[in-house]
């Protein structure tokens, strides 16, 4: 918005793009000093994205489809690249897709990280990625009617639920193995879970040869809901509910996307409070994952201890926000609740206790005899696979890549501190766990630092007006990695488009590679190590390639096998 030529970060990338593809770039628009949208010719889209991705340290953060027919007669695609080379910024490659033929050249053959995004934009807008290797549905259920594209502006009311068109699930699970395998299905539904998934493991004896999975069984249509029913401030509360564990990260990402789009200067004190609460959220989330690691390695006492200590982080959130979860603290322009002197002292006391107690528990965990044996060298994520698919958070940092939104694109209160980034080179479950452990202690240090010299002043600004059709990115580093939101304001006090991408979305595609070559009994541990909402994976279908038989195993049984590693359910 207020970007001037001197302060803009990322101009060398644009220069390089113009040099390599002289006639492709049509227009550049700066949303902030470090966010630029470049419009390219549709035919050059894959080349432009691939150039930024592989030649200039770009990572694919999200892709936004938008029905802009009422604005310019076309559909639009925005490929968001997080540039993590010498200059850290976001470059958004934008292209218009004709509303008549609805086709665009797929970026996936050049940049594999685009695969889920292109499958999703096909489901939601009916745009056809030409050359996309995987043409299955991603988000829409198999029994959803053909030709009904939910996010098109003229398609349907947000409350409409079409009749299912089929009784059976017709999803085709992919198995790339050269040998014969057995199928192990995990899923699809678990009555107590918030997000079920169906896993299918292809095994040879006890070894996983390949894996495939289907998610989005409970797609909640939040983007549509926000675009049609809610005002700008109300969406901050909806974003709080994207995830039951790290919802606040979404709320901050959403609020900052609108703030960036409108050029709102959020008071520093509000930014510091946001960072303090984000770290509070990270503490409880990482403790939850550490507890689960204990559980899956058969160390249930450790699980209980981590969950006991985690209560302190929940108490902290309750004291600072009034609620253990769904903090409901953000508004566009700042926060709703200040941190007062007394709360500051209690916070310092609580995190002091947390530091001491968690340190003792970590000592116990790493000295547990079979812990290292279960997690070292298991669930390997090859750094090159990671490079190709743009995973985020402890998953990518555990494979040696220094990616952390807090450091790369400092937002909220992280501008006020020096942000350490922890990486591990082991690429396994142990590495991911060690990253989380280090980050837990960082969170404490960050909160201490921000409470020590909190900027003074107001916590909310109302000194702005909404303008139609302004758009920008907003992002946070959630406990599971980068959350990326893209918002475009509308002309009716509602969002024209809200695109919300949760961190785990970027981590699912690499899970397949992490499972390959491991034993079935390690599968729950590996899935747990990307820290998804765990109960999703209820049952597994195991297919034995050699014996050509298939068997469905209850998740409880898989979990038992993972913990005890005796009496294989495959026999």
């Amino acid at each position: 918005m207020t970007a001037t030529t001197e302060t803009r970060i990322g101009q060398p990338y644009l220069a390089a793009l113009r040099k390599k593809l002289p006639h492709a770039v049509l227009e550049e628009r700066w949303q902030t000093d470090d966010q630029v949208t470049v419009t390219v010719k549709l035919g050059s889209l894959p080349e432009a994205v691939a150039t930024l991705y592989y030649e200039h340290d770009g990572w694919l953060s999200t892709m936004v489809g938008n029905d802009e027919r009422s604005l310019n007669g076309c559909f639009a695609l925005y490929y968001v690249l997080s540039m993590e080379g010498a200059q850290k910024c976001h470059v958004i490659v934008h292209a218009l897709v004709s509303a008549d033929d609805l086709e665009f050249p797929s970026v996936t053959p050049k940049v594999p990280a685009a695969v889920w995004y292109e499958r999703e934009v096909r489901d939601m807008f009916g745009l056809r990625p030409v050359g996309l290797p995987d043409e299955r549905r991603l988000v829409l259920p198999d029994d959803w009617p053909d030709g009904l594209y939910p996010l098109r502006k003229d398609s349907m009311d947000y409350r409409f639920r079409p009749e299912p068109t089929a009784d059976n699930e017709t999803y085709k699970f992919v198995n790339d193995s050269k040998v014969e395998t057995t199928v192990v299905p995990l899923g699809p539904l678990h009555i107590t879970s918030d997000e079920p998934g169906h896993f299918r493991l292809f095994v040879d004896g006890e070894t996983i040869v390949d894996a495939d999975y289907r998610m989005f069984y409970v797609h909640r249509g939040m983007e549509k809901l926000a675009e049609t029913r809610m005002g700008y401030n109300e969406v901050t509360f909806l974003a709080d509910r994207v995830c039951g564990i790290c919802g606040y990260a979404h709320s901050v990402a959403y609020a900052s996307s609108v703030e960036n789009a409108l050029g709102i200067r959020v008071p520093d004190r509000a930014q510091a409070i946001r960072a303090i609460l984000l770290e509070t959220e990270r503490m409880h989330s990482h403790l939850l994952n550490l507890g689960l690691v204990c559980h899956f390695t058969g160390f249930d006492t450790g699980f209980m201890q981590f969950f006991r200590v985690r209560e302190k982080a929940m108490t902290l959130a309750e004291m600072l926000t009034g609620s253990r979860k769904t903090y409901a603290i953000n508004l566009i322009g700042g926060v709703r609740r200040d941190i007062l002197g007394e709360q500051r002292l209690t916070t310092l006391k609580l995190i002091g206790e947390l530091r001491a107690e968690v340190k003792r528990l970590i000592d116990i965990l790493v000295s547990t005899p079979n812990f290292e044996g279960r997690v070292k060298g298991v669930g390997l994520l090859d750094p090159q696979v990671a490079r190709d698919y743009s995973p985020v958070g402890p998953v990518v940092r555990g494979s040696g890549h220094r990616r952390d939104t807090r450091a790369d694109h400092a937002f909220a209160g992280y501008k006020l501190i020096d942000m350490p980034v922890h990486t591990q080179a082991g690429c396994d479950i142990l590495s991911r766990t060690l990253v989380r452990i280090a980050e837990f202690f960082d969170s404490i240090a960050i909160i201490e630092k921000l409470l020590e010299d909190t900027p003074t002043g107001p916590i909310l600004t109302e000194d702005f007006a909404y303008k139609p059709y302004k758009f920008a990115l907003g992002y946070t580093e959630a406990p599971r990695g980068e959350d990326m939101h893209w918002s475009m304001t509308g002309d009716n006090q509602k969002l024209y488009r809200w695109r919300c991408r949760a961190s785990t979305y970027n981590n699912w595609p690499v899970l397949r590679y992490m499972l390959r070559g491991n034993t079935v009994s390690d599968a729950p541990l590996i899935v747990g190590s990307i820290d998804p909402c765990y109960s999703c994976t209820d049952r597994v279908t195991i297919v034995d390639v050699n014996k050509a038989r298939s068997k469905t195993i209850a998740y409880k049984e898989m979990e038992r096998y993972c913990r005890e590693r005796t009496d294989s359910p495959l026999k």
Binding site: S323, A328, L361
Partner: protein, 181 residues
């Protein structure tokens, strides 16, 4: 193993007695919003601020009433209603035990009567809201004439106000014509 045992003994008992003993919550915990119909003026500010539409208003012109209602089943305990309310009639309480045996019991209502426009007799707005605004305006009025004018503006319905304006304009127009002669 020894470390673990030591930790277990150090901790002692970690569980709370709840529900057999009350559970303490933080000082500004956001629980059930309590509505006070006595101070509520049925202005509907909370219905607009409420993100999940837990609060709503319904007007029954025939009966001359406006019904305010809250559904605790929809409430997300955000406290936006409390921020929006001009009279402090709704505020979040620390109460989090909201389970009920029947779904209907999750809804609470308050019925307000509507004020009629003194000119045409049609219902205008909640009587308490009209009285509230009137009170503020008359108290801040500089002169009795201004207060009287405020009374007219606040209690008259938009249609009658418009008619009144047209009549006045017409009168001024006639007077001007007379002067010009």
């Amino acid at each position: 193993m020894l470390k673990l045992l030591r930790e277990v003994f150090r901790t002692g008992e970690a569980t709370h007695k709840y529900p057999f003993a009350p559970l303490e919550v933080a000082k500004d915990f956001r629980g059930k919003p309590e509505h006070n119909a006595v101070s509520c003026i049925a202005c509907a500010a909370c219905t607009i601020a409420c993100p999940p539409n837990a609060i709503s208003m319904e007007t029954d012109v025939a009966a001359g009433t406006r019904t305010w209602s809250i559904s605790y089943g929809r409430c997300i305990f955000c406290g936006r209603c409390e921020e929006a309310c001009p009279t402090g009639a709704i505020a979040l309480s620390p109460d989090f035990e909201l389970a009920v045996a029947r779904k209907e019991d999750l809804t609470k209502r308050a019925v307000f009567s509507l004020a009629a426009c003194p000119s045409c007799g049609e219902p205008l707005a909640a009587a308490k809201e009209v009285a509230y605004v009137l009170d503020i305006l008359t108290r801040s009025a500089a002169s009795p004439e201004e207060a009287e004018r405020a009374r007219f503006l606040v209690s008259t319905c938009p249609a009658c106000k418009r008619k009144h304006d047209v009549e006045q304009l017409a009168r001024i127009g006639v007077e001007r014509q007379m002067e010009n002669r």
